[in-house]
Symmetry: C3
Subunit: 146 residues, 3 copies
């Protein structure tokens, strides 16, 4: 078992099954030492600022787990991840909500818990008026591989 | 003629003229083996979910052709493309439209038709409330070069 | 003093202090020769198309200065930048505003002034309905390092 999965166990978390892409694209694609992960929407539906404000950071954390499942399926060993490079987070939110960074912290905190300093990353949080399937958020991650 | 252009001919498609950037930026920029293509808006105008739902996947396909024209102008030979890494698609859509992946399939399907397995890519589909010039969609592609 | 800072002086501009990230993420992260800079929101608040149309290109320029401060803090010497690869600009704008490229020119023009041909880049301009803290725009830059 990989070091990352060991830490997940310690935290009482698990990867769960890797969901397939909803259309004609890959879960992730490697280019050199960079791994570009396809945008993954949250299981949670609804708009932050109106429907689901409290639950949003939690679903960001859960979406990271879903993304790690996909990566594991593709590269087999999560310990090949040498760092988290960048997260682009799109948050479906009402026009008067503007604390998007707080939502993304759910994702960032977990990645740092799992990978330590290598898990620290650059990040962009953006509000949008709609996402695929009415999801609350979408995470788009670039990883660095060994 | 390149293999990609050969396939385009077989499909009855053509690249058309490469449009210039609308402002002070490049059509694409190479960094190592990655080619970052500037976001290209569709010729089609209007909002998906209200004005132009049916035509949206078709204009995604056409926008890929426009992007290939730009790349050809910059690197001369499309066969230098060794893979499609990532597509970020922004789709101008109404708040109640949430089938953005279906729109982007117009782009993804063509890239796989033209490049086979190398054309398969990671992808993110995002709804937004407006795009430059009122365009229906915008595609932002990262290619890998030989 | 670096060549870039020299040019800033000539233009009567200065970097100013590097602001810290607002949450658990880095100001920028290096991966090989690419430097991914975290999305930086403008000091200016308000929506383009209603509140702050005239000032938007100016705040794009100022945001580039803020980003250069962050990069200097991280890599110490701005002359390690060998090129600007890509800008993703998110512009908080009303549904009827569609001249996003004009806003981003404030950023692009300054980077070309400072870095010459190496400052020329690929770019994507996207309208969104809200940004962190109600900011007018957000710039997300990928640099290439020596």
């Amino acid at each position: 078992m990989s070091i990352i999965e060991d830490k997940l166990n310690t935290l009482g978390l698990e990867l769960g099954p890797a969901k397939s892409s909803v259309a004609n694209y890959l879960g992730c694609k490697r280019a050199g030492h960079l791994l570009f992960v396809a945008g993954r929407v949250s299981e949670l539906r609804g708009e932050v600022g109106t429907d689901v404000t409290e639950e949003a950071a939690k679903t960001a954390r859960d979406t990271v787990l879903a993304i790690l499942s996909i990566i594991k399926k593709e590269i087999n060993d999560l310990d090949l991840i040498s760092g988290v490079v960048k997260i682009q987070g799109f948050i479906r939110s009402s026009p008067d909500f503007n604390n998007h960074p707080n939502v993304l912290d759910g994702a960032s905190d977990l990645l740092v818990e799992l990978l330590g300093d290598n898990g620290r990353h650059a990040r962009t949080a953006t509000g949008v008026n709609q996402l695929p399937f009415g999801a609350t958020l979408q995470l788009d991650i670039i990883m660095q591989l060994k």
